[in-house]
Symmetry: C2
Subunit: 226 residues, 2 copies
């Protein structure tokens, strides 16, 4: 942080050349400092000391930017496997890590639900997933759909977290209220189980259970074409 530059120069640094990398860098800084709500074209342009039109030389559109941002985020994941750690444990850890990263920015996770991110770090995750599933005995013809299912699940879980402290969207508390107010005539099973049952377990426990459900199902199900 300490430099010999005069303050006036540090406050408005010399304009660096534009590039896809530079834009995503700037987006990343804004994301970390102010959250996803502040990451938008006009803001990034201002940050980079240019007009919004300039960004479109390097980005197709906002979805393109989001995709690049997701991949940048996934770069911090550990995608190594020593082959000693049991495949099932490693898979749990990978999915947990992936979900944890996206949960930091649930609005970003939302865009990952819709598109198949195709950045190199996303492919790293898919690659390791394929290796782990193969180690678990999952057939080649099934592995693709299994990866789809696992990633979709993890991504959707992360996206769901944007409800938290997102103002205006109904909160978890409202859900309990809804369940408690349910009509026993129309929704008997719902009323019988009640809010406690419907939302039972710690979130972590619940997540672990869900992933285990997916894994058992994948291992137990016949080949997709069978």
């Amino acid at each position: 942080v300490a430099t010999q530059e005069p303050v006036s120069r540090r406050e408005r640094p010399a304009k660096s050349p534009l590039s896809r990398e530079a834009i995503v860098d700037a987006a990343m800084v804004v994301l970390v400092a102010e959250g996803m709500a502040k990451v938008y074209m006009r803001r990034l342009a201002a940050e980079l000391d240019t007009g919004p039109a300039s960004l479109y030389v390097y980005l197709r559109n906002t979805a393109d930017l989001n995709g690049a941002l997701i991949d940048r985020l996934l770069a911090e994941l550990d995608v190594a496997w020593d082959g000693v750690e049991p495949w099932r444990d490693r898979l749990h850890r990978l999915v947990d890590d992936y979900r944890a990263v996206l949960m930091r920015y649930p609005e970003l996770a939302e865009s990952a639900v819709v598109v198949w991110p195709d950045g190199p770090h996303y492919l790293d995750v898919v690659e390791l997933l394929l290796q782990l599933l193969a180690a678990g005995g999952v057939a080649d013809g099934t592995a693709g759909a299994a990866v789809d299912l696992l990633m979709q699940h993890a991504t959707a879980q992360a996206a769901e977290w944007s409800v938290r402290d997102a103002q205006g969207v109904q909160s978890i508390g409202d859900l309990a209220t809804t369940l408690r107010a349910a009509d026993p005539g129309r929704h008997p099973a719902l009323v019988r189980l009640g809010p406690e049952m419907m939302m039972s377990g710690e979130p972590q426990q619940r997540s672990r259970w869900m992933l285990e459900v997916l894994l058992r199902g994948i291992l137990a199900s016949p080949t997709i074409d069978g």
Copy 2:
């Protein structure tokens, strides 16, 4: 359609009183006729011959509107069960129906990924799901998480469809290209399986397989607290 009103009166019908129902009705008409992209506050206000501020008397915000719209859409689902049809078949049909409805408006499905819709028709779906799972022998303590998992899966699948013909977002074709261009050194499993394997099976077959994976996993997994 045939009325005795003069044309000039039919073209700009008498202003009916505003209400939550009336707003959602108007939104539904626009949704069906022009798609989700045209369903926004200012447009609905214009449609109802008033200013946008008036809508906020009956709607908290856009998320609230989307939630109401989803529930309106789910109203057309068949949520009856004769008790004769095997629970597993009925469950497949319910989830397929739910997904099919949301797939007609994937942008709407996107908002359902983030919020827990709490409308009566959504609760109908959850209710039937609970009954079917109970019939399948799923323990009470597990049923809540199982419903979560099933609905999240179906919703996310529907949301994913917004990639289709959404301009600017990378298409399925690009994904195949990405896979084909993958580096065999960094992503050997990905390259070995190739685009054919990664995207094998007809979409319907794939969806059926995924749901079956979920079901088998749910039935085979121990209680969530166990």
